[in-house]
C-alpha cells in the first residue's frame, strides 16, 4: 500500500516536472538571448540562473535514470533551448555532464567485467578522434547552423528511440576475422538465469565505421552518444545488451574526454554553468535510482520522448528564426 502511494507520488512528481519544463513559460528564457545586455553594472539577480539550472538539472538527472538515457542527451537540447546561455557553453557543459556520468559509472562497470576494455579500445580510438573533429567543426560553424543540425539530430534520436529494438543476447554464429585477431570476446555471469554467457562479436568493420559518425556528432553537439553506441554495439556488432550498455557508458569517458579538451582549450567553459549542472545531474541521478524501484519505465520513456521531441522542435525553430524563418 505504502509502496503504491510512493510509486504514484514519484510518477506524479516526475510528470509535474516535465509539465513545467514543457510549459511555454520556459520559452521566455530563450528570448533573453536576443536581448542586448549592456554591462553597465553587475546584475544583482545573477544567482537566479545557476539556481534554476541546479533545479532543472536535478529533475533531468531523475528523468535520465528513469528513462534510461544519458544526461547529456537531455541537457544540451533543453538547456540550449530554454536558457539564456550560448550554445557553445551549453555543449561544453553537456560534454562534462556526460563525461562525469561515465567517469562515475565506468570503474564499477569495468571491475564487474560488464564494460569490456577490449571492445571499447578500437571503438574509442575512432570515436574520440572524430569527436575532436566534431568539436572543432561545431565551434567553427555559425550558431544557427549548429542549432538546426542539433534539432535534426534530436528528432533523429526520437525516431531511434521509437523504432530501435534490443536483443538481450544477439545470435552471433561466428566471430569475424578482425574481432578474432583482436580477441574481442568475453564471459559474463547473468544472475537472472544463473548462467555464464560467452559472447563474441561480428560485423566489426562496419561497426567501427559507424563510430566515425557517432564520434563526430558527440563532439559537435556535446550530447554524449549512448543513444547511438548501444544500438551499434548490440544490434550491429552482436554484443549482449548488458555488455553494450555498460561498454557504451564507459566509452563516453573516452569519447567525451577528447571533445571536452577542445571546448576547454577554446575557452568554452563557464564554471558558473558547469558546476551547478554537474551537482544537479548527480543528485538527481541518486534520487532517480531510488525512484526506479517504484516508477513505471514505459511511462517515463514516453515522457522522455515527448521532452526530446519538444526540445528538438525548439532547436529547429531557434535555428530557423535566426535565418528569418518563423515557423510559429
Amino acid at each position: 500500500m505504502l509502496g503504491n502511494i510512493k510509486g504514484k507520488a514519484g510518477i506524479l512528481f516526475v510528470a509535474l516536472m516535465c509539465a513545467i519544463m514543457l510549459s511555454p513559460v520556459w520559452a521566455l528564457a530563450s528570448e533573453v538571448v536576443t536581448m542586448d545586455q549592456i554591462p553597465a553594472a553587475g546584475d544583482p539577480g545573477w544567482w537566479k540562473w545557476p539556481v534554476i539550472l541546479l533545479f532543472v538539472t536535478f529533475v533531468m538527472g531523475i528523468i535520465a535514470v528513469l528513462g534510461g538515457v544519458g544526461g547529456g542527451v537531455l541537457f544540451v537540447p533543453i538547456i540550449g533551448g530554454f536558457f539564456p546561455f550560448h550554445l557553445d557553453f551549453v555543449r561544453g557543459a553537456g560534454l562534462l555532464v556526460a563525461l562525469c556520468g561515465a567517469l562515475a559509472a565506468g570503474p564499477g562497470l569495468l571491475k564487474a567485467n560488464l564494460a569490456s576494455l577490449r571492445l571499447a579500445m578500437p571503438v574509442a580510438l575512432i570515436a574520440s578522434t572524430m569527436a575532436i573533429v566534431g568539436a572543432m567543426v561545431g565551434l567553427a560553424l555559425p550558431t544557427h547552423i549548429v542549432q538546426l543540425a542539433l534539432g535534426g539530430t534530436i528528432l533523429g534520436i526520437v525516431a531511434i528511440m521509437l523504432s530501435a529494438k534490443k536483443s538481450t543476447v544477439p545470435h552471433v554464429p561466428q566471430a569475424d576475422a578482425l574481432s578474432t585477431a583482436l580477441r574481442i570476446t568475453g564471459v559474463f555471469y547473468e544472475p537472472t538465469t544463473k548462467e555464464e554467457i560467452n559472447w563474441k562479436i561480428h560485423r566489426t568493420i562496419p561497426g567501427l565505421l559507424s563510430f566515425i559518425i557517432i564520434g563526430f556528432m558527440a563532439g559537435m553537439f556535446g550530447l554524449g552518444a549512448g543513444w547511438a553506441n548501444v544500438p551499434v554495439l548490440n544490434l550491429m556488432m552482436g554484443a549482449p545488451l548488458k555488455i553494450s550498455v555498460a561498454t557504451s557508458k564507459f566509452l563516453l569517458s573516452i569519447t567525451d574526454t577528447s571533445a571536452a579538451w577542445i571546448y576547454l582549450n577554446n575557452g568554452a567553459m563557464i564554471p558558473m554553468m558547469v558546476v551547478p549542472s554537474l551537482i544537479g545531474i548527480m543528485l538527481g541521478s541518486f534520487v532517480g535510482v531510488r525512484l526506479l524501484k517504484v516508477a513505471k519505465p514505459t511511462f517515463i520513456r514516453w515522457m522522455v520522448i515527448a521532452i526530446l521531441l519538444f526540445a528538438g522542435l525548439k532547436a529547429v525553430q531557434k535555428g530557423l528564426s535566426t535565418m528569418g524563418i518563423n515557423l510559429f
Binding site: G42, P122, L125, S128, M136, W261, I262, N265, I270, V274
Partner: protein
C-alpha cells in the same frame, strides 16, 4: 562464477586509476567552486557580471573578457588559464582538466602490461589513443571563431 568472468588485470588497473581520478576531480571541483562562488578568492569576471557574457558566442565572450578585464595581447585560450589559477573562476578549470586528463594516464599505465603479454595490437591502440588525447589536450588544435 568461474575465473573466466573476472575482469583482466589491465581492465582492473584502468578502473582503479579512473576511479581515483574521478574522486580527485569531483572533490576538487566542489572545493574550487565554493572558493569562487562564496567570494573567498577573487575572480577575473565578477560573479555578478558573468550573466552579461554567457549568452555570447565563445569568441565574442573571450574578446569581451580580454578587453574588459585581462588586457592580454592574445585571447585566453589553450593552457593560458594556468596563469590565472589565483582567481576563483579560472581555478575551476583545474578539476575539469583532471577529469578530462585521467583517461590519458589510464592508457599510459596499461600499455607496458599489454606489451609484456605480447598483446601488441591493443598496446599500439593504447599508445595511439594516448597520443590523440594528448594532442587534444595540448591546445594545438584550435577551432575558428564564429
Amino acid at each position: 562464477m568461474s575465473q573466466n568472468t573476472q575482469a583482466t588485470e589491465e581492465q582492473v588497473l584502468y578502473a582503479d586509476i579512473l576511479e581515483k581520478g574521478m574522486y580527485a576531480g569531483l572533490g576538487l571541483m566542489i572545493i574550487t567552486f565554493a572558493l569562487y562562488v562564496l567570494g573567498i578568492m577573487p575572480s577575473i569576471v565578477p560573479v555578478d557580471e558573468i550573466s552579461i557574457y554567457w549568452s555570447q558566442p565563445v569568441h565574442d565572450y573571450l574578446v569581451a573578457i580580454n578587453t574588459n578585464f585581462l588586457h592580454w595581447e592574445t585571447l585566453p585560450t589553450g593552457w593560458s588559464w594556468m596563469k590565472l589559477l589565483g582567481y576563483g573562476d579560472f581555478l575551476n578549470f583545474l578539476p575539469v582538466a583532471i577529469l578530462s586528463g585521467i583517461t590519458i594516464v589510464c592508457y599510459i599505465v596499461i600499455t607496458p602490461g599489454l606489451f609484456a603479454r605480447k598483446d601488441k595490437a591493443m598496446a599500439i591502440m593504447a599508445i595511439a589513443e594516448a597520443v590523440i588525447l594528448t594532442l587534444a589536450a595540448s591546445g594545438i588544435l584550435s577551432a575558428g571563431g564564429h
